[in-house]
Amino acid sequence: MRDNLLRMAKMRFPILLVVNGEEHELEIDPRRTLLQTLREELELGGTHLGCDSGDCGACTVLLDGEPAPSCLVLAADCDGRAIVTVEGLLQNGEPHAVQKALVAQGGIQCGYCTPGIVVSSVALLRANPNPNEAEVREAIAGNLCRCTGYQKIVEAVLAAAK
């Protein structure tokens, strides 16, 4: 039985991932999460492992435009889907307004939650360019931060919306 399982583990599942606009044809172990695949196969280290159970938001990416925890998605299940990571938010090397505002307003301390916060906030501003404070807090409620008390993050996202 175990041998059988091990043989199956070696099975590879072919997928096409579109990450930050680039197509990647991969053969992956079906057990791999999107998070592992981004970090280990595609070397996109900006997406962070925080809890591996969807409770902290550090691994948030845009999945077909929606913010989602990449630790709760099997890469094999993402065939053909468009994924944007924190690295993909720079345009011509220029950081996104949310990234600039977090830098300027002191919304970053240890920075481990920051990529997730950035991705969630960009998704918010795309759907709602003029959010109020409550809407910003709602949008990042799934992103735990242990350093900032959220105060300066919220201020930064509101500033980025202006």
Binding site: A9, R31, L44, G45, G46, T47, H48, L49, G50, C51, D52, S53, D55, C56, A58, T85, V86, E87, L89, L90, P95, Q99, K100, L102, V103, A104, Q105, G106, I108, Q109, C110, G111, Y112, C113, T114, P115, V118, E133, V136, R137, E138, I140, A141, G142, N143, L144, C145, R146, C147, T148, G149, Y150, Q151, K152, I153, V154
Partner: protein
């Protein structure tokens, strides 16, 4: 002419340049764009994954460990057990070994470890290890552990009592007899945990000469070097510790953990680099959490509103092994004995071994605990005196330039200003004016309340180790780049940027021309570690000295080049110029000129700072542990649902005496982040432990406040220009979370008339207290 050995303290200085500016952290853009390299991002060629098998029985003799099947699994490179231990003990209590050979004393005890080609294989190997235990009676209540005949945790220790702290000043016993009002109560404080967003990690690699390099999330790189040496018998000079970007720590990294020597042992056994990264679950059960405390406390005052006496007796559950967390009573007693003027005080704390998980220190180092029970009783005293809580606190507040009976030499002190600001901004006056405000809510079952609490913290280092020092060098290269190499450690708090500001200011160079190196023990000078809110103060003073030294070297040579005395020169905008006539030479040219000549030299300044403080006396615990003290007051407004007990914090004002804000943005950030930990401690965070097992090892059920749970925080920085601090700055790292829980408890009392003495104050506990209608009963239990 000011004292050349000390940076200016900012009082009366004009045009402060880069000091006091809200400049972004040096690494902020890298972090915002996902480029920063954390421990989990570091990989080495051939690196293996290490995994640990934990006992998951609380107390047992190890009969046998069978690793044969695990060793045979394809992809496994090493399996080690307690038999591989080097045979010596490590840790603050000299009571721990990497793997456990003879017996296990708590569920987290490390019994075996595996190195394998990948995580799945390592996990599979763990499942193949068979351990046979002979279970022993276990004890989980520290009070029971002190009783004669209780199961003994360490057979080579005289008893389960690791140590007792017994402090007093004045005559507390008799003072209670002569007091006019006395309040008394039992407090119950839970396990809570740091919850850094990045879990702990260790990567160990040997080179062919046998030199060991360890990449680590530690807060104490030089002590880790020493601790690993002790634990493994590897000479410290062979050990190099590198700290990548660290994703928060909050006290987690103050001790060496068994997994660190285990990682090294696996690297030794395999000849390959080995990494152990904690999973979140491991982080929840294998970190050294803030220890729970059982507290009996009483406080007394005189009719005129003079605070008269305090007595606190604590039992602290250290768990199965002693960490630096055992030293937190030193800080707790400071609150009891020295927050406000206290003529009589007594503090007794027993640190006790149990079969619970080992505990440690967390941001505040005992102070959030002691400030909770001390400040709740301040409120109770005020109530009993019929005095306004703000007035009562102002009347007894610490003042500048006084020595407390404990021997704390308070220099700068803005406690009164903090209280006044916090009270005014939360609307305290209207609080006194009318009772109806309690009912001014949208719903009939909701009450409104406000509360306040204060804090006293070390702000000029804390001498809990023989040295409280830090070294620094400042090098200037021949293109004018200034590199500060500091012994201190950045764990996200922003000290690196504050230090760069101090160097830029001291030398007169641009901030953008300053680089900070702080991540490698083979490069940086010694430092005791990042703790006790000490880095800006201690490392800042060291950096300032090194910068002054480098500046002196540059000016001395520029003086020769310009044929004036060095006193006549100043540095600014990448040039050195004569103040009077404007003649100038490029800053980088001076440096080049120093070494492009016969008998030349280079520019490197050095600085060492160890504050003028003392270790406390080992018998009386008196002495001035810190070179400066930070103060703060927090005022909160809450809503309490009287039918569900649920508390909502609407607003929080945090007024803190920071001496001088080198970078106000990150001073505020430290306070605001501290407030979040305080709100969590007050309302939602509790690691539930039953029979030594954690019941809620996930972020789903260990409830760190989310953005929706946090109030709007108004932070007020009170600047008192400390005479010893760099540019007047005092430490600010911990005090943001210290008074929060007490302020919230006091606001709940204002809203509901019930006192909560158990944390966290969940809806269930608040409702139970409301139902019980107990406002003054000594202890509180659920119906």
């Amino acid at each position: 002419m000011s004292d050349a050995t000390k940076p200016p303290n900012g009082s009366g200085s004009q045009s402060p340049g880069i000091i006091g500016k809200r400049v972004p952290k040096l690494d902020a853009l890298d972090k915002a764009t996902g480029r920063a390299q954390y421990g989990h991002d570091v990989t080495l060629p051939g690196m293996l994954v290490g995994k640990i098998l934990y006992a998951n029985v609380p107390h047992a003799r190890i009969v046998s460990v069978d690793i044969a099947r695990a060793q045979k699994l394809r992809g496994v490179r090493a399996v080690i057990t307690g038999a591989n231990n080097p045979g010596r003990k490590f840790g603050y209590g000299t009571d721990n070994t990497p793997l456990k050979g003879d017996k296990v004393r708590c569920r987290r005890d490390e019994v075996a470890a595996v190195a394998a080609v990948d995580e799945d294989t390592a996990n599979e190997a763990l499942e193949l290890i068979r351990v046979e235990y002979d279970e022993l009676p276990a004890v989980f209540d520290p009070r029971a552990a002190l009783v004669e005949g209780a199961p003994k945790i360490h057979h080579d220790k005289p008893s389960n009592l690791f140590t007792r702290y017994d402090y007093s000043h004045g005559d507390a016993e008799r003072a209670f007899d002569s007091a006019d009002v006395v309040v008394e109560g039992d407090f119950d404080l839970p396990y809570v945990t740091h919850s850094a967003m990045e879990t702990a990690f260790c990567l160990a690699a040997f080179d062919l000469q046998g030199h060991l390099t360890v990449w680590s999330t530690t807060q104490i790189p030089f002590l880790l070097q020493r601790d690993l040496s002790e634990a493994l018998g590897i000479p410290g000079r062979e050990i190099r510790v590198i700290q990548p970007t660290i994703g928060g720590s909050f006290g987690r990294g103050l001790d060496v953990y068994p997994f660190e020597p285990i990682t090294v042992q696996l690297a030794q056994a395999t000849g390959k680099p080995v990494r152990i990264s904690f999973s979140r679950t491991e982080e929840f059960f294998a970190s050294a959490h803030r220890q729970p405390a059982i507290v009996r406390m009483r406080s007394a005052a005189r009719h005129d509103g003079t605070l008269w006496a305090r007595e606190a007796r604590l039992v602290l559950d250290a768990g199965a092994y002693i960490s630096w967390g055992a030293v937190t009573p030193l800080v707790m007693m400071e609150t009891v004995a020295s927050l406000y003027r206290v003529p009589h005080a007594k503090f007794v704390a027993d640190v006790v071994y149990t079969n619970n998980l080992p505990t440690g220190a967390m941001r505040g180092y005992g102070n959030p605990q002691s400030t909770f029970f001390t400040e709740v009783q301040m409120d109770e005293l005020a109530e009993k005196l019929g005095m306004d809580p703000v007035e009562f606190r102002l009347k007894n507040a610490n003042q500048p330039n006084e020595e407390t009976p404990q021997g704390l030499k308070i220099t700068s002190c803005g406690l009164r200003e903090c209280i006044t600001e916090a009270a005014q901004r939360i609307g305290w006056e209207s609080r006194a004016a009318t009772d109806e405000r309690r009912f001014e809510t949208d719903e009939p079952h909701v009450r409104r309340g406000v509360g306040i609490a204060c804090t006293l913290n070390v702000g000029g280092g804390a001498r809990i180790y023989r040295s409280d020092g830090c070294g620094a060098t400042v090098k200037v290269d021949d293109f004018g780049r200034v590199t500060l190499v500091t012994g201190s450690t950045e764990i996200g708090q922003g000290s690196e940027t504050a230090l760069a500001q101090i160097v830029a200011e001291a030398m007169g160079v641009r901030l953008e021309d300053v680089t900070v190196i702080n991540s490698d023990t083979s490069v940086k000078p010694w430092d005791v570690g990042v703790h006790a809110s000490r880095t800006t103060f201690i490392a800042g003073n060291a950096a300032w000295r090194a910068a002054q030294d480098a500046k002196r070297q540059i000016l001395a040579h520029a003086a020769q080049m310009l044929n004036v005395s060095a006193d006549a020169l100043e540095i600014g905008d990448r040039i050195v110029r004569v103040k009077d006539d404007g003649r100038q030479v490029a800053f980088d040219k001076v440096v080049r000129a120093l070494h492009y000549r016969e008998g030349g030299t280079f520019v490197i300044g050095t600085g060492w700072y160890d504050p003028p403080t003392q270790l406390v006396d080992k018998d009386t615990y008196k002495g001035n542990i810190s070179a400066a003290f930070g103060f703060g007051a927090q005022a909160v407004e809450v809503l309490v649902d009287m039918e569900t007990g649920k508390v909502r914090v609407l607003r929080l004002v945090a007024a803190h005496d920071v001496g001088r804000a080198i970078n106000p943005m990150y001073c505020e950030g430290q306070i605001e982040g501290g407030v979040q930990m305080g709100v969590g401690y007050a309302l939602t965070e509790e690691l539930l432990v039953r029979d030594g097992q954690i019941l809620n090892p996930t972020f789903l059920d260990y409830r760190v406040p989310t953005a929706l749970d946090m109030p709007e925080i108004e932070t007020v920085l009170i600047e008192t220009a400390d005479p010893e601090g760099p540019f007047g700055a005092k430490g600010v790292g911990e005090m943001g979370g210290t008074p929060t829980a007490a302020a919230i408890a006091n606001a709940i009392f204002d809203a509901t008339g019930v006192r909560l003495r158990r944390l966290p104050m969940t809806g269930e506990r608040v409702l139970a207290a409301i139902i019980k209608g107990e406002s003054n009963a000594a202890s509180q239990t659920e119906p």
